[in-house]
């Protein structure tokens, strides 16, 4: 018994000398844990500001310019004569800029329907834990205006410039569940200033859902789907454009330093909200699939000042 006590005593002495620095570390931890906890924001829910066709929850950071070039080739089922769609391509070129960490703006031009588009995107809420403003989800709002500049179908008619315009408003609600899994839903609303025909709607509602699974640190697998909702402002009117399908895209994000390559398969041809949400005509499951890619290159225009 005596020996045991002596042994314990010796142990405690040697422990206290060897682990004196651990005591000091514990003291430091106690000192810092008393402080008000800061919000720990979820970062990099997605690799870039687009899921594939549409917006992801991400913004470009303040002072960052993002140059995006996107292509959608022809349909895979167009056969060997068209080299499975590779002979045809539609393109969108765009520039996005971060005014602040919450607000970004962007402009683009698509060959499809000779469209110009411009958008503003604002981060309303950021997913965070720990601090005063903790939230399980991030929420962003995006509004896009699209201008179709194809020649008038009937130039003899009295045509108005405003008839070329359409608008899309989206709310994006996203959660990064883990390092590997992020999901988002996107309630969306598209408005046409001029409907195509009497029975066609001016206003179309859709609910989008999408997500990613990270396969490696620099590679992720994405899915994006928009379901047009049977909601109509006018009783008896169509709630969707005739012959259209819901938009589906599956693909991969590949990140290499300052570039992000997004490769995907989608049944949508256009790369603006009104075209892919409401004007998709391809049937994904019958092979009306476009191979497409987005390339993103970011430039830091305004550098953050490092405190020296």
């Amino acid at each position: 018994m005596k020996n045991h006590i002596l042994f314990l005593f010796l142990m405690s002495i040697s422990w206290s000398t060897v682990h004196a620095q651990d005591d000091l570390m514990k003291m430091l931890e106690n000192e810092t844990s008393n402080e008000k906890k800061k919000n720990d924001y979820a970062t990099a829910t997605f690799k870039t500001t687009r899921l594939m066709n549409g917006h992801s929850i991400e913004n470009v950071a303040a002072g960052v310019l993002d140059f995006k070039v996107s292509h959608r080739f022809g349909m895979l089922n167009s056969g060997g004569y068209q080299l499975f769609g590779l002979d045809q391509a539609t393109m969108r070129m765009g520039l996005d800029y971060g005014i602040s960490n919450r607000l970004m703006i962007g402009v683009g031009r698509s060959t499809f329907q000779k469209q110009y588009d411009a958008f503003g995107k604002f981060k309303i809420l950021r997913q965070a834990t720990g601090g005063k403003w903790s939230s399980p989800v991030s929420i962003s709002a995006v509004s896009t205006v699209m201008l179709k500049t194809l020649k008038w179908e009937d130039p003899k008619l009295q045509n108005y410039y405003t008839s070329r315009l359409s608008f899309a408003h989206q709310l994006i609600i996203a959660r990064k569940f883990s390092e590997g899994l992020s999901l988002q839903i996107m309630p969306s609303f598209v408005h046409y200033n001029l409907a195509k025909s009497v029975n066609d709607p001016n206003d179309i509602f859709a609910l989008g859902a999408g997500g990613r699974i990270k396969l490696t640190k620099r590679l992720s697998f994405n899915v994006e789907y928009y379901h047009i909702l049977p909601i109509s402002f006018v009783a008896g009117e169509n709630y969707r454009l005739p012959g259209t399908k819901n938009s589906l895209a599956i693909g991969f994000d590949i990140e290499t330093g300052g570039h992000i390559f997004q490769l995907h398969f989608t049944n949508s041809t256009g790369m603006t909200e009104k075209t892919f949400i409401t004007e998709t005509t391809g049937d994904f499951f019958k092979g009306d699939i476009h191979f497409g890619f987005n390339i993103s290159r970011v430039f830091t225009i305004k550098k953050k000042r490092l405190k020296k």
């Binding site: 620095q21 931890e29 000192e31 470009v60 960052v64 390092e179 830091t300 550098k303 490092l306």
Partner: protein, 173 residues
């Protein structure tokens, strides 16, 4: 032991210490970051020093670089904290009661990216008006801490990283 420390007059502390690092590769893009929220305690009696750093508090000039640093290289969600537990080897050469600058050698365990390595560094301690300023510059190798650089960007980030530490300690209350 803690009770004894709490009353002692030889504990110096800071919560706003600075640690910065830079990579010396010949790249047009500077890979460097600052952290101004480093907490540290210096025990002037035993010569022990401890540091605690939140890895996410390292800030870069480029937001994308910062994101990649956290996401791809140092995995700050998995390893949020970096620590250093060390000791001044030549404590007898420092007279804390007399103003002046004293060169010191510090040895200890640096934990980063979940890996602990023994590092030694030369630096200085300056005593002035009851405050102590510690300064040190040393180098670590990325592979020692299992931070891997993909070959695609290997020319932009060097294997050796320069680290600069600057802390202004005040007597702990």
């Amino acid at each position: 032991m803690s009770a004894f420390f709490a009353e002692a007059q030889h504990m110096y502390m800071t919560k706003t210490g600075k640690v910065s690092f830079s990579s010396r590769a010949k790249s047009p893009e500077k890979v460097e970051a600052d952290n101004n929220e480093v907490s540290s305690i210096l025990n002037t009696q035993s010569g022990e020093m401890v540091f605690a750093i939140l890895v996410k508090s390292f800030h870069f000039e480029s937001a994308l670089m910062e994101e990649h640093f956290n996401e791809n290289y140092v995995e700050s969600n998995k390893y949020p904290k970096s620590t250093f537990k060390g000791k001044i080897l030549n404590l007898s050469a420092v007279n804390f009661s007399k103003e002046g600058a004293y060169p010191v050698n510090v040895e200890g365990d640096l934990t980063f990216h979940g890996i602990t390595k023994k590092v030694t560094s030369a630096g200085s301690l300056s005593v002035k008006a009851g405050k102590i300023t510690a300064f040190s510059k040393f180098q670590v190798k990325l592979k020692d801490f299992k931070v891997s650089i993909p070959s695609l960007v290997a020319d932009k980030i060097s294997e050796d990283i320069d680290i600069v530490v600057e802390c202004n300690y005040e007597l702990k209350k």
